[in-house]
Amino acid sequence: MAPRRPSPLAPNRQRQVEQLIAAKEVVVACGPGGVGKTTVAAALAATAAARVGGRVLVVTVDPARRLADALGLAGLGNAASRVPDAAFEEAGVTPKGELYAAMVDMSESWDALVNRHAPDSRTAHQILANPLYQNITGRFSHGHDYIAMERLYELHEEGNYDLLVVDTPPSRNALDLLDAPSRMTDFFSSRLLRWLTVPYRSRLVNLASRPFYQVADRILGSQLLQDLADFFILFQTMRDGFVARAEAVNRLLSDIRTTFLLVTTLEAVPAREAQEMAQALAGRHLHLGLLVCNKVLPPALSDPAVAKVADLLGAEAPKLTAALSPELLDGEPSELVRSVLSEVAQSFSNFRLVANREAELLSELADLHDITATVGYLPGNITDLTGLLRIGASIWGEPEAPASGPAKVTKRTGAAERASPAKAVDRARSPRPIGSSAPSATDMATEHDGDHKES
């Protein structure tokens, strides 16, 4: 078992994270696209179920089959399914609570909304049958954001779960998600909507007299306009229900029981987007409880002492090669040994640049909220609960489990004083190869199955 050493960055992070999770009922995962948001949300939910307990539901908008597979489920749908305890057992964990997972089915959710808010079933049917309906629900800008938030509200209302972790659609703009409920309200309240529908309701108004219709008619043709107006008239019957609901969703988002989880990588563009998101949350007095930086390089790469060793290794490569006893190297040709040493040094200095940039971005981001967690690069793909729980352990601030592998360098002389290098060692040789790829790493697998068993 790894020693529980608080990271110097965030003292007692483990306790902080547990307190946060225990105090909240809703966690909204947000962040730029492509940073592993869905995976981190699932990891947080799984780890909360394992360690904090209660009934935890992770709701994803990502239809990727992989997540269902990773959770040991046959597939995900609008209805929640329970992640079997067997999946946890396989990961060597006895969960304190129960983990459920569901996916937001956009069209199913829209249909349900229409059925709920339409004044009667006939109107509902007319709306659902309108050819423009599918199109609008599919395209209505921010429609997906709204549905994700609306579904969250519904699940919270039902009260079947102690903790809801909801993943959100990748947004073009950081504010889209937060604005979605208000936009829905605006949509129904807008003068534009009334303006567009009134002429068709009241035939007294001469359409042709309105410049908009002159233009629109010319460009779109009157049939399309008529279809649109019909649709909007029907849609408007749902106004009160939608507006009330959107307001309730907004209240839930700003409720003290809700917190946001911001996921990003430490690359320039996503980090900038994450920063905007954090500022947007702050500007709206929404609670950003946790920032998770994903796929971060090991801290040893930005440790000057380690860098010095790497430089030495490169500079002294010829001398070291000459002096190295052939026994240590199985009699491999010295040419090869020298080139490997130089490559190692070169690679270190390459990645060091990246790691330093990451460290800078991290410190900029870390000012914006309470808890910052970093998750290292995990080889292969996350294909099972073990992988998710490993990410969870990183979020909880645990040093990764002592690793072994073909190269046994886990002797920790001097590691206790300085957290980072040891952590780096762990990370690099870390985890069993999740998935298949790395042939030379396959033999790491065996010794790791129990790593994340909680004491």
């Binding site: 696209g33 492509g34 990727a64 992989r66 423009l132 199109n135 395209r139 209505f140 807008s190 534009l192 567009l196 410049p211 908009f212 002159q214 233009v215 629109a216 460009i219 779109l220 043709g221 399309l224 649109l228 990588t265 563009v269 390089l297 090991p298 040893a300 440790d303 010095k308 060793v309 790497a310 002294e316 070291l320 190295l324 240590l328 491999e332 080139s339 490997v340 490559e343 190692v344 690679s347 990645f351 640049l353 690069y377 080889p379 292969g380 793909n381 073909p406 190269a407 360098v409 002797k411 002389t413 001097g414 290098p421 780096a424 060692v425 690099a428 040789r429 790829s437 790395a438 030379s440």
Partner: protein, 316 residues
């Protein structure tokens, strides 16, 4: 292959976060340096393009950022205004504001309207010969298919009207592989590669635009061959680590960290290679696959764009 930059209109797309804007900006820079009058257009105006060129906001009307190089952001309302003015000759230009807003609103609901205004503007710049090359920092997977399919789809919806008459010449530009091409950008990671493969299929099935090339961005260098890896494993063994530490007067933990970093690099590279293998298998001979090396540098903005442009130039 047809010279990539010899085309007139390139849609650069791919999953969010793979570096679409960087590639589009670099392609634009490269073309402009070759003397082609180039327009780079950011379709989803997030400001990434102005971040890439370090040039301040890029307006719809375009901003000259370098010789032969103009950058702009798409704005469907402005596109409508321009369209009404130039094509429809609508006399209400003075009062276009509310009309355009209403139109924008309708466009939200009506399929393909916003898309046609986007694609239409881009095709228009090509048709009018305002530029030799238009590079589009296009939308991500889902939206780009909608945009490129819009001229075809709109014919089914709008039976009469000016919009319909406008789609024919757009289609002519879009479906000509000598003129127009899609560039799918990906990184050697699982989701971006899966999405790239999916997107290549959807472009072929649902849109008139041909795939011009696939660019694998941020490809890590190969660190070791097989023989070297064996040596590395021996070096990373505890006795060697201790020996090296003693020799360099360093702590074994630090030596181990250095070696661990190399192993991580090998692992990341290897994971990536497996995904690229999958990509190559799926794309086959449909389009060339270009590799851009990972930039180990602290820089971003125009200096990074220049580096990418240089690598792209070598690959092309």
């Amino acid at each position: 292959m047809t010279d990539l930059l010899g085309r007139r209109l390139l849609f650069v797309t791919g999953k969010g976060g793979v570096g679409k804007t960087t590639i589009a900006a670099a392609l634009g820079l490269l073309a402009s340096e070759q003397g082609r009058r180039t327009l780079v257009c950011e379709v989803e105006p997030k400001g990434d393009l102005s971040f890439a060129y370090e040039c301040g906001p890029t307006p719809f009307r375009g901003l000259l950022v370098a010789r032969n190089l103009t950058a702009m952001s798409m704005d469907t309302e402005a596109s409508l205004r321009e369209y009404l003015h130039h094509v429809a000759k609508v006399p209400v230009v003075g009062r276009i504001g509310p009309v355009a807003r209403a139109f924008d609103f309708v466009a939200t609901a009506a399929p393909g309207i916003r898309e046609i205004l986007t694609v239409g503007k881009l095709c228009y710049e090509v048709r009018e010969n305002h530029y030799d090359l238009v590079v589009v920092d296009a939308a991500a997977t889902g939206n780009v298919v909608g945009q490129l399919a819009a001229p075809t789809g709109i014919n089914e919806l709008v039976r009469v009207g000016l919009v319909r008459n406008q789609t024919d010449w757009m289609l002519e530009i879009l479906r000509n592989p000598e003129q127009t091409g899609a560039v799918i950008v990906t990184t050697p990671e699982e989701m971006p590669v899966s999405e790239a493969i999916d997107l290549a299929g959807r472009l072929a099935e649902e849109t008139p635009v041909h795939l011009a090339c696939v660019i694998a961005n941020r490809v890590l260098p190969e660190l070791f061959g097989r023989a070297e890896e064996h040596v590395f494993d021996l070096l990373a063994d505890a006795p060697s680590v201790d020996w090296l530490a003693g020799r360099l007067l360093a702590s074994p933990a630090d030596v181990a960290s250095v070696l661990a970093a190399a192993r991580l690099a090998v692992t990341i590279r290897r994971d990536g290679s497996a995904h690229l293998e999958r990509l190559r298998g799926a794309i086959g001979s449909d389009a060339p696959l270009l590799y851009l090396p990972y930039l180990f540098s602290r820089t971003h903005g125009i200096r990074a764009i220049r580096q990418v442009a240089r690598s792209l130039g070598e690959e092309l």
